[in-house]
């Protein structure tokens, strides 16, 4: 149960990191977002058994991690939290796909294990990039970025308001749960008959708050549109950032770098 409460602290921690100042922070958020999206697409485009080919893509999160001042422990912690589900799904692959595809003499590797590793590498790549993106950009700035990329305004406003009120409600829910467990003598799970009125009352309070916020908005002249602050300026550095990483991603996808490197080394050794 505490894990979910800790999740709220995690959101807070992202906010704190985003207020920092590192080389990665200073790039235009549009450039960063576009690279992350493109990387996600590229990572997904590999064949099922691609393992070594995906490795060069990992340069992205590694370099970004160094450029930002985000602690490695933070990123690893978040990765660990997201790991179980993917692991659970990926582990079926070695179970169902047992035909060996690679032989090292004594050791033979089945296709299933290759695809398992491939899945884990993709996971590592795409999730670490999201973590770094949010940690170096901040949620509010990300929302403003979405607006610049022509996402419908009502959705961006929804994201901003939602984010703002999550913290408030998380506190309230915590209090409700604590109050319950104090009188339920330690039970943290709420009994089913109570759920309707407990959640119902919370919901009514929430909706009342929603109406009060609406009133507050009306009192300050709200006419249906919220303006979102978006002051970032694209400069040459951002173009290089975007171009550079895009080229790297395309290169890594089209040229089997690790294979070439390996062959080159083997030739050198023999």
């Amino acid at each position: 149960m505490n894990e979910k409460r800790d999740r709220m602290y995690a959101v807070d921690e992202f906010d704190r990191l985003a207020a920092g100042n590192s080389p990665l922070h200073r790039y235009d958020p549009r450039a960063k977002l576009l690279v992350v999206l493109f990387a996600a697409g590229i990572a997904a485009s590999y064949s099922r058994y691609a393992v070594a080919e995906i490795v060069p893509l990992l340069l992205l999160p590694i370099v970004w991690l160094s450029l930002s001042k985000v602690p490695l422990r933070f990123v690893l912690g978040k990765l660990l939290l997201a790991l179980p589900f993917v692991f659970f799904m990926a582990i079926f692959n070695p179970i169902f796909d047992r035909a060996p595809v690679m032989d090292f003499g004594v050791l033979s590797v089945s296709g299933g294990w290759l695809s398992f590793t491939s899945i884990m590498l993709r996971f590592l790549l795409s999730i670490s990039l999201i973590i770094l993106l949010v940690a170096c950009t901040g949620f509010n700035t990300l929302c403003a970025t979405l607006l610049r990329l022509h996402i419908p305004k009502i959705f961006v406003v929804q994201l901003l308001l939602l984010y703002r009120y999550i913290f408030l409600l998380a506190d309230e829910v915590q209090r409700v749960r604590q109050a319950y467990s104090l009188r339920a003598l330690g039970d943290r799970s709420i009994a089913l008959p109570v759920v309707g009125s407990l959640l119902g009352q919370l919901l009514l309070r929430v909706m009342d708050r929603g109406q009060r916020i609406h009133q507050a908005m009306l009192c300050r002249g709200f006419v249906g549109i919220l303006s979102v602050r978006r002051d970032f300026h694209w400069c040459k550095r951002d173009t290089w950032f975007l171009l550079g990483w895009t080229l790297w991603l395309v290169l890594a996808r089209t040229v089997n770098i690790t294979d070439q490197l390996g062959h080159f080394l083997l030739k050198g050794l023999t």
């Binding site: 509010n140 002249g221 602050r229």
Partner: protein, 269 residues
């Protein structure tokens, strides 16, 4: 300065289920006046305030803000003149940063960016919160939230300020800061509150509400000296008057005080 006048005439309001929330409420406030609305819980204070900003419409009677009656068609003008500070500051701070919250009103008023910036700066300066400009609202303390909420209203340059429990849940320092702010304003002020010591510091007039009706309306000291009146309507004297042998004759004399002393409980520096 007619636009600073608040005139409530024979105001009646019934809830959807038929209960009377307000009955025959009559009062007029003049330019620069600071009035407190006090009463027990459920007396109808918040309901009355909501009529002043047009959130609720009277069942009968009228409310006038300056020259404009408060009607659905005049709400826009009314809300330019009257600024309301809500009981729960979190209801008023919904933008990502303090700056954007304070700028929300001026932007909606259609002001140019330079003017918006000026208004925000002044408002934040007035409440002493310029350093909180880029802070998200959930990172503010209770007192800071209250101050910023006041700033969001000040930025719209209203003539009349309506406040619902401005010092609720504030620690001593934040409360003192809020009271000092309110003392410094020259707007017409209407404050619904349980904090009677605040009333002593800020307001010259007190309106007592009981079960939806006005049962007393007079100067601050006049009302607060009338212990019987206060008792009848489930109220007490302000705390700092309660120990005073002059204002509360039944209590023990705590210091050498006499009626001839320069005796005043109002206006702390």
């Amino acid at each position: 300065m007619s636009h600073h006048i608040v005139a409530v005439q024979s105001l009646d309001y019934c809830y959807p289920d038929g209960r009377h929330a307000l009955q025959c409420v009559n009062f007029t406030l003049h330019h620069g006046e600071a009035a407190a609305i006090i009463g027990a819980n459920g007396a109808g204070k918040s309901t009355l305030l909501r009529h002043l900003i047009g959130t609720l419409a009277p069942t009968s009677g009228s409310v006038r803000i300056g020259d404009d009656p408060v009607l659905p068609s005049t709400l826009k003008q009314v809300r330019r003149t009257v600024g309301m500070v809500f009981q729960d500051a979190d209801d008023q701070l919904f933008m990502p940063t303090v700056y954007e919250d304070v700028a929300f009103g001026p932007i909606n008023q259609g002001l140019p960016p330079a003017e918006v910036e000026k208004r925000v700066k002044n408002a934040l300066f007035t409440v002493g919160c310029e350093h909180l400009r880029d802070r998200p609202p959930y990172r503010l303390s209770g007192g800071e939230k209250r101050a910023v909420a006041i700033a969001t209203v000040l930025a719209m340059s209203p003539n009349i300020l309506v406040m619902d429990e401005p010092t609720a849940n504030l620690d001593a320092r934040a409360r003192r800061h809020c009271i000092r702010l309110l003392q410094g304003f020259t707007h017409t002020r209407i404050i619904a509150t349980h904090d009677l010591d605040l009333v002593l510091d800020v307001c010259t007039r007190v309106i007592v509400l009981h079960e939806g009706q006005i049962v007393a309306d007079g100067s601050t000291m006049e009302i607060f000296r009338d212990k019987k009146l206060l008792d009848r309507y489930h109220l007490e004297q302000p705390l700092r008057m309660q120990g005073c042998p002059v204002c509360s004759p039944s209590s023990e004399p705590c210091q050498q005080q006499s009626a001839s002393d320069k005796h005043s409980h109002a206006r702390r520096p």
